[in-house]
């Protein structure tokens, strides 16, 4: 019996989440750098991206405090807790990030790396499972 069944479902979910958040972050970064128009992004689309990221960050922040996080955050929380950065620092950064995202202003430079780090963790999880798909 192969692992493909559970893996493919997991990959699909991971890919969808990564894609949505990655494109949302590109939208916000493009806006900061003045390249939103190059991607054909309207202001509404950038705003939707901000909201998407904000919702995700709020849920992730809550998951960090739960003894048993929701199943779709379990793996990410585990990676965060195992990372070099102390969990208290993650909490602090996510609080600041959540605040920033809720303001309808351009994101400050200091919070963007936090978003990038989170996406790196999501990407790492995705590629780890992707390698299993490829090695099958």
């Amino acid at each position: 019996m192969s692992t493909l069944g559970s893996l493919s479902g997991q990959l699909e979910r991971e890919e969808q989440r990564l894609r949505e958040l990655n494109l949302a972050l590109i939208a916000l970064e493009a806006q900061v750098l003045g390249h939103a128009a190059d991607f054909g992004l309207s202001e509404e689309e950038v705003e939707r991206s901000r909201q998407k990221l904000s919702d995700f960050v709020v849920r992730l922040r809550a998951a960090l405090d739960q003894e048993a996080p929701q199943v779709d955050f379990q793996s990410l929380v585990h990676r965060m807790k195992s990372s070099i950065k102390p969990i208290e620092d993650w909490r602090e950064d996510l609080d600041a990030l959540a605040c920033q995202l809720q303001l309808k202003e351009q994101l400050k430079d200091e919070v963007l790396p936090v978003l990038e780090d989170i996406l790196s963790l999501l990407d790492a999880e995705f590629t780890q499972d992707l390698r299993r798909l490829y090695n099958r």
């Binding site: 493909l4 559970s6 493919s8 699909e12 894609r19 590109i26 750098l33 929701q70 779709d72 379990q74």
Partner: protein, 390 residues
């Protein structure tokens, strides 16, 4: 990095274009897969959008934006593998045997309550596996080639259906995860007076157990429960068979394997079985064979904690409850298995589950008659499903 990304963008342009062409060709050659192709093309559109973003990032060349590019490459790679290593080979090489099984499985899946299934691609090229990449409505199912002529191991297909169900209803993962949390939360509170250091160590072990039951493992165990629920005793017997054939330590808790320990899986299958089969000879035989195999093994404390019977009972109860809730058309397999000559009788309206269960019973009780019976059944099935040998 920028040069690499430029090269990848160019590379993907060719690949995506080729995939696009292949999908169009298959649409023409296999109109029965029209719905699947629609879903695949939707995925392709998504991939093209990602590709456009990649090209734009490369064109702009801003270092900060470039950092987003590798994720896009990974996502494109996912689609490429899905299309070129899985769906396209299956569609391009689809033969009469694949199509025969496709017909069989389409009706079977509907009967098991998977009424959202629009199409299935079957690829008889190896182990049982399923992919629901483009959509849960159009899965790809891989299976051993012998399924064209033999029922051996066929109950394993129901496990693959379970994966589709699991993906279709995200709430299943939520409730099973909650069952895990609740079980270990209650467990954590108990135990007699332990010294603080011992309680800390116990807590660590419980935390490890919570981490062990991640979504992939929940899905594997759910699939075992689902398969037994809809397929019946044949699936339980098939699970025991799988455990005995591979002679692995049935109690081994392997963090590198998404499959739970065999002992846990076999136990869960047994508990998922309709109680009316508890006195069925083949069930008793399989149960005893498994128990004596387990007795010869050592077991370990980690297994007892992570896969306790109390936990597995709770898991099975939760899973079966939600199968009944979410798949109202599925049936808890409870057909009485006939005896003696009646067992070998063949009727046109027999479901695949009925066939597999009778087959398993014949194999256990009259093994010398099994081969001829199987041959007759396949003849009937192939005529019913218009299977023509090439």
């Amino acid at each position: 990095m920028l040069e690499y990304l430029k090269a990848k963008a160019a590379d993907y342009a060719i690949v995506l274009s080729w995939i696009d062409q292949e999908f169009q060709d298959i649409e023409l050659q296999h109109p029965e897969h029209h719905l699947l192709i629609i879903h695949l093309q939707a995925k392709l559109t998504q991939a093209k959008k990602l590709h456009d973003y990649l090209k734009k990032l490369v064109e702009i060349g801003n270092l900060r934006l470039i950092r987003r590019a590798l994720s896009l490459v990974h996502e494109l790679e996912y689609f490429t593998i899905l299309a070129t290593s899985h769906y396209l080979p299956a569609l391009q090489k689809e033969g009469p045997a694949d199509r025969f099984l496709r017909q069989l499985l389409l009706s079977t899946m509907k009967r098991c309550g998977l009424d959202w299934i629009e199409d299935v691609v079957v690829h008889l090229d190896g182990q049982h596996a399923t992919v629901s990449g483009p959509s849960v409505e159009t899965p790809l199912i891989s299976a051993p080639p012998q399924h064209a002529v033999s029922f051996s191991d066929m109950p394993g297909l129901y496990h693959e259906f379970g994966h589709n169900v699991f993906e279709r209803f995200p709430e299943i993962a939520d409730v099973l995860s909650m069952a895990v949390s609740q079980h270990f939360a209650e467990f954590r509170r108990k135990a007699g007076p332990l010294a603080p250091e011992q309680r800390d160590e116990r807590d660590r072990a419980i935390n490890d157990a919570l981490e062990y039951w991640e979504i992939k493992r929940l899905s594997e165990l759910f699939c075992d429960v689902f398969a037994t629920f809809v397929c019946g005793p044949a699936h339980y017997v098939s699970c025991v068979d799988m455990g005995l054939r591979f002679d692995r330590d049935p109690f081994q808790v392997d963090y590198g394997d998404v499959h739970p320990p065999l002992s846990a899986r076999v136990y869960a299958c047994y508990k998922s079985l309709n109680p009316i089969y508890s006195n069925e000879k083949m069930i008793i035989a399989a149960y005893n064979a498994w128990k004596s195999y387990e007795k010869a093994q050592d077991g370990n404390g980690v297994f007892e904690l992570i896969c306790s019977e109390m936990f597995l009972d709770r898991f099975v109860r939760t899973a079966t409850h939600h199968i009944e809730q979410l798949l109202p058309r599925s049936k808890y397999y409870s057909v009485s298995l006939p005896r003696d000559k009646e067992l070998e009788q063949i009727a046109e309206d027999m479901s695949l589950e009925d066939i597999l269960n009778r087959g398993a019973k014949i194999l256990f009780t009259y093994p010398e008659r099994y081969a001829s019976w199987e041959e007759r059944i396949f003849k009937l099935l192939k005529s019913t499903h218009k299977f023509e040998f090439e």
